[in-house]
Symmetry: C2
DNA sequence: TGACTTTCCATAGGTGCACTATATATTGTC
DNA sequence: GACAATATATAGTGCACCTATGGAAAGTCA
């Protein structure tokens, strides 16, 4: 463990956890479960996907994704289509309403974050801004290596 | 909104969300639900508390906290005690086993984070280290103002 | 071609964990 | 000693996940 005194992973982990719970309980439009919101977000940002691929991407079982998509479809947020080349697969895509809702939620969460950030001292705000690419890099590493993370 | 081009709140929010989900699905000892883990963590770090206070702190209903504490008690992680001055209240405290488990989970999550951080370029790692106090400040702001966040 | 295996999705049954509404017990007030 | 307020427990309900299994379509090979 190359533990650097300047980087306390326990503090970082705790702060990340608490910050996310803070954002999660902020009121967002749409009343979606975390998994539903994440799935919709994935569909909006990366385009249509088949059910099994979605389940893998969201780390839920395939039956859970079938149910989740059924709920989203009932809410008019996604549509199910057929693959012309393979009669088994279901192609899930976000509807216009789904896209709008996802973007609205993203914007609302951004508002909350922006409000909090605006009350932070300038140097701390700058420190967070400087860390954003690094945090994204961390996520990319974790996604690429699901075994360890 | 004083939107600075250097701080994309949407990117920050997305990165935080994905990072937390990454950490959440990493295997931790104890098999606790997120709410249970958070409650145990609160008890370990801030000491014994009454049921209603715990429910408020964790943002769940009082019956949900009653159930949660019952599960934690059955697992031997917390103990329920009486208040000598008020026969109605239940004082919940972490047992030694609960304290050990919570610390072990915190350490395990730190390990995962440390592993990921170790594979990040030095400058990015430094950027995250520099942002830790600011992230903690953000959490403090959010906790102090539950209305907006 | 026809049987076998694989892949993709749906359904069934069960569980965990949250919620609202309500009951019970204790405390403080008049 | 009623009465209101507070702290917790119980009942009933619903959502969202899981494993196990079923059925349909596609690929494989004698």
């Amino acid at each position: 463990m190359e533990s650097q005194p300047s980087l306390d992973v326990a503090r970082l982990g705790s702060a990340l956890d608490r910050l996310t719970r803070l954002l999660r309980r902020s009121s967002l439009p749409g009343d979606l479960s975390p998994a539903a919101a994440s799935t919709l977000y994935t569909l909006v940002t990366t385009g249509p996907a088949r059910l099994t691929a979605l389940a893998a991407a969201e780390h839920v079982s395939q039956p859970a994704m079938t149910q989740l998509v059924a709920r989203l479809e009932a809410a008019g947020l996604v549509a199910r289509g057929a693959d012309p080349d393979d009669g088994r697969v279901v192609i899930v895509s976000a509807t216009d309403a789904g896209r709008d809702l996802s973007l609205a939620r993203r914007a609302a969460r951004g508002e909350v974050l922006a409000t909090l950030l605006g009350r932070l001292p300038r140097d701390q705000r700058d420190a967070i801004a400087a860390a954003v690419p690094a945090l994204e890099g961390l996520v990319a590493l974790g996604d690429a290596d699901p075994g360890r993370a």
